[in-house]
Every structure is written in C-alpha cells, then in structure tokens.
C-alpha cells in the first residue's frame, strides 16, 4: 500500500533518486576515482576547476583533486550517519517501546533518562563526547548515535501508547502470548512506519552533525577525506580559492536534501491528516 503511494509521491521519489545517485557514486568510487584522493601534487596547487587539467572541481592546497576527495568522502559520511542513526534508533526504540508498553515506574524511569539526554543541544553533546573520547571514527558514530536515543524513545513510546489498548493486543494476550512476543511480533511491526520517517529525517541531521564535527577538527581526521574536514582546511584558502569550500558544501547539502525530501514524502504518505489538507 505504501509502495503504491510512494510511486505517486514526487517528493519522496526525488529524495530516493538523490540518495540512489550518492550510492552509485560510492559504488563507482570503490573501483575508480579520477585521481588518487590523498596523493599530493605540488605542481597543481589550488588550481581552479577546469576540463583541460582533468580537475573538474579544482585542486586543494596540496594539489589533491577535490572531486576525487568528495567521492571518497561520500562513503565516510553515509556509513557514519547510517551507523549512528541505527544505533540511536535501536537503543532509543527499545527504550521507548518497553517504557510505553510496561507503563508505570518503568515508563517514568526510562523516559526520565531520555529527558536528561534531551537536555543537551545535540551539537554540544556530540562535541562534548568527542572531546572526551578522542577523535576516532567509531567515537563519531557513538557521539551522534547517543543524540538520537531520546528522539527515538519518544517517537516509539508515543506510537506504542496509542496502540496498546487495541483489540488485537488483548486478543494476542488471551491467546496466551507473552509480553515480549506481543511487543515484538504484534506491536513493533505496527509502529515501523513512523520510525522509518524518523530514521530518514535523522539521517539528514546525522550528516550535518558529522560534517560539523569534522569541520571543527573533532570528527574524521585528515588526510582521510570527509566533507567536513575538507571544508575545515578550505577555510584558510577560501577567499583565494572559493572552489575548495563550495563543492564539498554542495555535496553535503544535496545529500541532506535527499534525506529531507524522502522523509517529507514518507510523512505525507503516512499522515492522512496532512494529505487531506493539500
């Protein structure tokens, strides 16, 4: 049912198309890159984009090809944001569905933990964690993932609360099903759609967070390229060579836009209230 509506939803399809494009770029980058992304070339420092030289997006302060670096940075950004979002989604959802399902004391305690995590602005929390754990790639995933735990806890708890009074839940219990069985076999599949919307929107923010961390020097470390640290080193040269700052930023914005479009489209499909308003 969702699939059929998805086909008609231009917004979601455009988003999917953009994401597919990036996935294709990653696949290509595994086998072929225009230039070696970490090889320095002192004869081509800060060259503007030109077809003649083959550097379509120009070169950076070490003569490295910006397009190749963007292509390689693509997998870094996507892998980190997907892992971080999944981490937050799994932990947060488990907390949220048990809180909503069990209610009472459990609910209060679990949601209080979520409230506390919610009291930190997300970027500040991520920076704080990176500062303490040190600049390792898996720490970036952890720092971003933890930001999402309370968000997923709230979404999934709310969804469970609206569902658990339903007939089919009581029916399952009277058939002798246990709590975990009802929760994971009957309730969880029913709240997947709002979770998927949340995941899509979280992915877009995760990419922004990762690039901000790397921009501040707290994420992926050079010489390994990430869009954020490319922008960071571009800061010193951007007046002289604006292309060093423009293209990596475009790469981030476009991918984030893709996830936002997908999330928006999915929400339109799933939320009948907004559909009528159109």
């Amino acid at each position: 049912m969702v699939g059929a509506r998805l086909k008609k939803n231009i917004i979601a399809l455009t988003g999917l198309g953009i994401i597919a494009f990036y996935v294709a770029v990653i696949v290509v980058s595994l086998f072929w890159l225009p230039f070696d992304p970490v090889a320095m070339d002192t004869s081509h420092l800060l060259e503007p984009p030109a077809i003649a030289t083959g550097h379509l997006f120009g070169t950076d302060e070490f003569g490295r090809d910006i397009l190749s670096r963007i292509m390689q940075g693509c997998s870094v950004s996507l892998i980190i944001s997907i892992s971080a979002t999944l981490m937050g989604a799994v932990i947060g959802t488990l907390m949220g569905i048990w809180a909503g399902f069990l209610g009472g004391k459990w609910d209060q305690w679990i949601m209080r933990v979520a409230d506390i995590l919610f009291s930190f602005p997300s970027l500040l929390l991520a920076i704080f964690i990176m500062g303490i754990l040190g600049e390792k790639t898996y720490n970036v995933i952890f720092a971003i993932g933890i930001v999402y735990i309370p968000q997923f806890a709230r979404v999934s708890r709310g969804a469970i609360l609206t569902l658990k009074g339903n007939e089919f839940v009581r029916a399952a219990f009277s058939n002798g099903a246990g709590k975990s069985y009802v929760l994971f076999k009957h309730l969880l599949p029913n709240i997947m759609m709002p979770l998927i919307v949340q995941i899509s929107l979280s992915l877009s923010v995760a990419i922004l967070l990762e690039s901000a961390l790397s921009f501040l020097g707290l994420g992926i470390q050079p010489p390994y390229p990430s869009w954020g640290n490319m922008l960071s080193s571009a800061r010193k040269f951007m007046m002289l060579a604006p292309w060093t700052a423009i293209y990596p930023g475009l790469a981030i914005s476009f991918l984030v836009l893709g996830f936002n479009l997908l999330g928006d489209g999915l929400r339109d499909i799933l939320d009948p209230r907004l559909r009528n308003v159109k």
Binding site: P121, F128, I129, S211, F215, M239, A245, G249, V277
Partner: protein
C-alpha cells in the same frame, strides 16, 4: 497557574541532577585521569607523589563522594579552576556568555521574522508558484550546513566593510549599531535553519486552521481577506509555531558554537571549543552544564508561555 509553575519547576530538579551526573561522570571516562592530563607525559611521578597530588586536587576519595562534593561547590557557584590558565572557570564563562546569548536572540528574531510571513504566504496560496518556491526555500534552509553557509557569507560579503566581524569584535554597549551590523550575518547563518522549520510549521498550521468553520464564517461575514488571515487564522495557527520556536532556541545555542568559530567571535561557543582542544575539563564541564541548564529553562519557559496562552493545556493537567 501558580501551582502549575511550581510543579514544573520542581520537575526540573531530577532532570538537572541527571544532567550534572552525566557531565561529571563523562569526564571521568577520559582514558587516564584529568590529573594525568594536567601533568602531561613529560612528568615522572612516584606513586607517593601521585597520592599526594591526588590529595591536593581532592581526587583521593571514592567517585560518588567526589560527585556530591563537586555538586555542592557548583550549586554555590564554584565551578572549579581551569587546568590551563588556573583561573576560576565561572567568571571566564560568564564574560563570554552575553555575546552568545545576543547571537541566539538575534537569530531567533530573524528566524521568526523570515519564517512566519513566508509560511503564511505559502499557505494562502495566492500564487501557486510562490508556494512552490517558498517550500523549496524551506527545504534548502533545512539542508544547508550552517557553517558552510557562514563560510559562503564570508566569501561573498568580505568586501562589505564592518559587516563581517573577523577578529575586530565590538560589544553592543560600546557601539550598538556597529555591533548589530557585525552580528547580522552570523545570526542569519544560525537562524536560517530555524526559519525553515518555523516556515514549515506555520504553513501546516495555517492550512489546518484555514479549513475550520470559523474561518468560513468570518469569510461569509464579508470580512476582508487580510483580516481573516491575520486576525482569525494566524492567531490560532501561531500557537504550535511558538512552541517549536521555543524548543529550538536551545539548538541555536548549539549552532552558535560553530558559527562563532567561523566568524572568529569571542563567545561561549569558541571558549567551549578551545576548552575541548586544550582538554581543559573543568572549563568544559562548566560550559556544558551551563548551556544544558539554560536549554532546560528555555524549554520550561516555552511550556509556560504555551500554557498561559492556551487554556486547554491546564484543563488537561487537572483531568489526569
């Protein structure tokens, strides 16, 4: 209302306690100890010297005891001393705070001024193309990284004298006009994301309200379209928008960290980064604690504003 406020204030206590526990114990997760960091790798110490140092730094007790002692000092306004400068942490933070708050408020105002009219324009659909353009602008606003936008502003407007701060910051009280000019682009870079969020909420909320019977009645009475939209529709549609704006104000504070770095503004965000780079843990603890406390208070204020404007909220509370 009074009792509601008191109850909400009391409910802050466990949250703030939890925040302080996280801030305190996360710092304890550092490989090695803060003391080791302070000594660096060049200093050799015997175990006896280490014990002595721990005693001097007050690190010789069990961690929960240390936490309670630390919290006791924090409540009294003693956030400890910087590991790098040996100065008291709190005055240094408070000196940087006004600039960050100013940028945050400026960004919030810009976001409201841009977001609400665009949302209304988009919702009333006088020109279908305006609607499409505004919605695309909204999506772009959500998708552009703030620090990139800020960098582009620096590239594009560095020729405008006095508009891009870059190290020659003047405070509001010494030269208000120059100060506002200087903070316009930084605030805009932070505020655009929120403007997009506000615009989208205003649009959705307006679309819902415009379907209501009382709007039809107002139109049928022969009121001017402008009056219907502003006095009848917007007044009702604005409530959820205020909540969203309030809850996002804390994120503006977070955004200020990156933007202050890009524009070289001497605010609390840059101090936080400096503290992180220098591994100055008391300073980090102080800043994170303060920002989180402000975040929680702003959220509470948003709730209270909402409750005071919308009487249904309090009725719900009683019914529970």
């Amino acid at each position: 209302m009074g009792r509601y406020i008191v109850r909400r204030l009391l409910s802050l206590i466990p949250v703030l306690l939890g925040v302080s526990i996280i801030v305190f114990f996360l710092v304890r997760l550092i490989p090695g100890s803060a003391l080791q960091m302070y000594l660096g790798t060049q200093v050799e110490t015997t175990p006896e010297q280490m014990e002595e140092l721990k005693r001097i730094f007050g690190e010789d007790k069990p961690v929960p005891v240390l936490y309670v002692e630390w919290l006791g000092r924090v409540v009294k306004g003693d956030f400890g001393y910087s590991l790098r400068t040996s100065r008291e942490v709190l005055p240094d933070i408070l000196a940087r705070l006004p600039l960050s708050i100013e940028i945050t408020i400026f960004a919030l105002i810009l976001a409201l001024v841009i977001g609400i009219p665009m949302g209304v324009l988009s919702a009333i659909k006088q020109h279908p193309i305006t609607d499409v353009l505004i919605r695309i602008a909204g999506l772009l606003g959500l998708s552009l990284p703030q620090f990139w936008l800020a960098s582009l502003m620096v590239i594009a407007f560095s020729n405008l004298r006095g508009w891009i701060p870059m190290g020659n910051y003047v405070s509001f009280f010494s030269a208000p006009l120059q100060n506002l000019k200087m903070l316009f682009f930084p605030s805009l870079a932070i505020g655009i994301g929120l403007a997009a969020v506000i615009m989208r909420y205003t649009r959705n909320s307006m679309l819902e309200v415009m379907q209501m019977d009382y709007i039809r009645t107002a139109k049928a009475k022969g009121l001017k379209k402008r009056v219907v939209i502003i006095r009848h529709a917007l007044r009702n549609a604005i409530l959820p928008v205020i909540t969203v704006a309030g809850f996002n104000t804390g994120y503006l504070l977070g955004g200020a960290i990156v933007i202050e770095e890009v524009f070289a503004l001497p605010g609390m965000g840059r101090l936080a980064l400096y503290a992180i780079y220098q591994r100055d843990y008391p300073l980090i603890q102080g800043i994170v604690l303060l920002i989180a406390a402000m975040f929680v208070l702003v959220n509470l204020a948003t709730d209270l504003i909402y409750a005071s404007v919308d009487p249904r909220i309090r009725l719900d509370e009683k019914a529970r």
